[in-house]
Subunit: 317 residues, 2 copies
């Protein structure tokens, strides 16, 4: 019997994954937990899958895309802030002085995030994000940032949902930055996006209409130990499947893997400088060090992007 | 043509609601937003419905059931806390000295909540809650608290879901107290329960297994202005349908009603001392005053429990 390529493509739920141990570990796990009467069967409501976003579902280099958004917003709104011309870290950013920006450190970045993510209603912010995703372009790929999503992971999300899983994003990124576009791009609705957040205040606006105002104060950081905490807070169930790519995902993977019954924990290892980027233990964004060691020790899946992925981005096809 | 009672019961999605303006306002609204091509049509993903819990889905008299849980837990664990015999507010509670307990005020209640809701893992707490719901009995109805749910509201939840709505609880109650039983009782899964919460800490436990420890510190109060904030944080979409019963729901209803397109805002008014309880403007639990005035002003539905509900509790049938 000859399997026609077309027929194959229709029946393979993960066509952008090369055949091998990585792909097999995923399909084996899904078969185990969905087989009625099997010892590892998991009822549909318990099939919770959580995914990190930056570096797991979309690219995070040369720096987090939310930071690119914040930088672009500073530049776009600079005419309304003449004081930025002489105040750091804004001056460095407006002068494209990356050394000066680096000198401002994390404190400088937080200042930039605060002024670009607050002082407007949640609805105004969402519109700003959607405007940016439709107009901004990635410096290397010259495409909208929302096109720099991983085709194999899109297939994995669809495959899990087709098998009764509820898919969630659990990201260190800002929840208000992610929700406006994730339903369209990942098929993940706003109520299944968990992320970091700033304080929001309910008030009756100038027009007499109620509104939610974003304040320049961080409320919750959904990273590291914050991830299992965020999962508990927002989802209220322990995932049976989790995927990340960096040390910020270690506790989410530990929490997932430590549950009773069949559990799946996976990491994306960025090994493909040609098609995407190659980085791990010493990267500034998406450092993969302790979580990698733990994955090896525990037998979690570590995806080798270069080896395991036939296609990286949807636009390659 | 004669409609047989049996056939009627099958086709009426809200059989415990008496015919009248209240029932009609609900079915009219659902018809409007689900009619393809109609001016008020709302796509399925946007059909978000939020419900308060205490006094809206289940009884809240003679006091909030979560308080009954906390009191019962103090009594059950008193042998491990000999110091409570001489310390307020615990002494008053153990002596059934309701006057002394009242004298301890809100501060005393918070102390009781703190000791009964913290110092254990989230999983231990969930087991404690389920043990309580299966053994504790309501002082007037002598039934498990989870049987004191409103049959008309159960039908409303089912009816909305059958029409493509996603139903959420948005309650001032503790989220960890509600999630363990709501899926079974209301058909609402943990990830669709929004509530108040305490701080939770991720740690590697004594056995080397990761765990989430509940700390005696309040993190978020999902009441009043906190309700639209909680809706934004957990759901990330504005509801098109919301139901409450007290002033703590005012801002949720305002936020819901102020959205564009068709919106539904409703209140349960407790008018039936015989079958349940009658209370409103001067009640200690579930005070309905400002929200009632606003409902009248805005034309929101105010359900008259005595008039509008054929059945109150499932066990009456
Ligand atoms: Ca990441
Ligand atoms: Ca209430």
């Amino acid at each position: 019997l000859v399997a026609l390529p077309h027929a194959n493509a229709q029946t393979d739920p993960l066509p952008s994954w090369n055949e091998g141990a990585a792909k097999k570990s995923i399909t084996d796990f899904v078969a185990r937990v969905t087989t009625q009467g099997g010892t590892d069967f998991v009822p549909v409501p318990e099939r919770i899958a959580t995914f990190d976003n930056d570096g797991t579902l979309w690219t995070e280099q040369p720096f987090y895309f939310q930071l690119a958004f914040a930088f672009d917003r500073v530049k776009a709104t600079a005419p309304r802030h003449p004081e930025w011309k002489t105040t750091q870290p804004f001056k460095a950013l407006l002068d494209n002085d990356m050394k000066g920006l680096a000198a401002a450190g994390e404190k400088g970045l937080l200042q930039i995030v605060a002024v670009t993510h607050a002082g407007m209603t949640t609805e105004e912010f969402a519109r700003t994000v959607l405007d940016w995703t439709s107009t901004a372009r990635h410096p290397r790929f010259h495409r909208p940032y929302t096109e720099l999503v991983y085709q194999p992971m899109l297939e994995l999300l669809t495959y899990l949902r087709a098998n009764g899983f509820k898919t969630f994003v659990v990201s260190g990124g800002g929840v208000e930055f992610m929700r406006p576009w994730m339903e369209k791009v990942y098929g993940i609705p706003p109520e299944q996006v968990v992320g970091s957040s700033g304080v929001v205040k309910f008030q009756i606006g100038a027009s007499g209409k109620p509104e939610l105002m974003k304040l320049p104060k961080i409320e919750f950081v959904d990273d590291g130990s914050g991830k299992p905490v965020g999962i508990n807070r927002f989802i209220g169930r322990r995932p049976i499947f989790a995927f990340g790519n960096s040390d910020g995902d270690l506790q989410m993977l530990q929490w997932t893997a430590a549950g009773e019954g069949a559990r799946f924990a996976g990491l994306v290892h960025h090994t493909d400088a040609e098609r995407e980027y190659a980085y791990d233990r010493s990267s500034k964004f998406g450092k993969l060090d302790k979580a990698w060691d733990e994955a090896v020790k525990r037998g979690w899946l570590v995806v080798d992007m270069k080896q395991d992925w036939k296609t990286v981005f949807p636009f390659e096809k």
